[in-house]
Symmetry: C2
Subunit: 142 residues, 2 copies
């Protein structure tokens, strides 16, 4: 049986960055670096050292994550496995497809995590239970 490992399908992108004497500008365009229409943008910050966030998957929404400041440690899981990522630079982007369990495990004190999402917020599209997520991605184990 051929198994796709998560590190084959969820890799970080290095975003185009323009650097000159006036500083840096990193860019992400819809339907280029971000492979969807951006309907919702949010940023998470001021997360205490001992707190984690996420701990859910979404049934339909794509998300694109960038730590535009500081460092955020993330764990993703899909049908093929789990993988850790360190978002530690404003030019690193991480695509999170639907049906990917995401754990935002650790934020540095100064961290700002930018999230661009393909859908408006719809609570019913979230899977908040890890057991329910397992059943969704491994239906044969039902």
């Amino acid at each position: 049986m051929f198994i796709l490992h998560i590190n084959m399908i969820l890799s970080m992108d290095l975003l185009k960055t323009y650097t000159d004497s006036r500083g840096k500008l990193t860019i992400a365009e819809a339907h280029r670096e971000i492979p969807f229409d951006v309907q919702r943008i949010y940023w998470i910050y001021g997360v205490p050292d001992d707190q984690s966030r996420g701990m859910h998957a979404n049934r339909i929404s794509y998300q694109y994550l960038v730590a535009v400041k500081g460092v955020v440690e993330i764990c993703l899981e899909n049908a093929d496995g789990r993988k850790h990522y360190l978002l530690d630079s404003p030019d690193k982007g991480l695509l999170v497809p639907p049906l990917t369990w995401n754990e935002l495990l650790k934020f540095s004190e100064d961290a700002v995590l930018l999230v661009m999402a393909s859908h408006p917020y719809e609570p019913q599209t979230y899977i908040n239970s890890y057991e329910e997520f397992q059943l969704a991605v491994h239906p044969q184990t039902k």
Copy 2:
């Protein structure tokens, strides 16, 4: 003659922010807080203390600005006048319509300015000369 002042049309928004023990999340949705399709997102950072940016207007593109970290001092000018803005909190948003001259005057050392734009980058849509901008917004003075 009735004159619209720029402070009547370009005011900062206070964006919806969810705060709990896990930190803060500030959100902006297309066609709600952001009154356009977001085609391009970029972030400006690492700007030296003595540098400014911007110094242009765009003929067609809307932009929405948020200092998601640090403080950015901005001056906008349209046909009705000039106004200074201090983006000093991740929940303050500033809409910049087309034909608005923008000067990003001062970035704090830690500042990250998030820009959401309605169009892909098209160099020919920029007005880079202040004189040309003046002619565009005050055609009667040509």
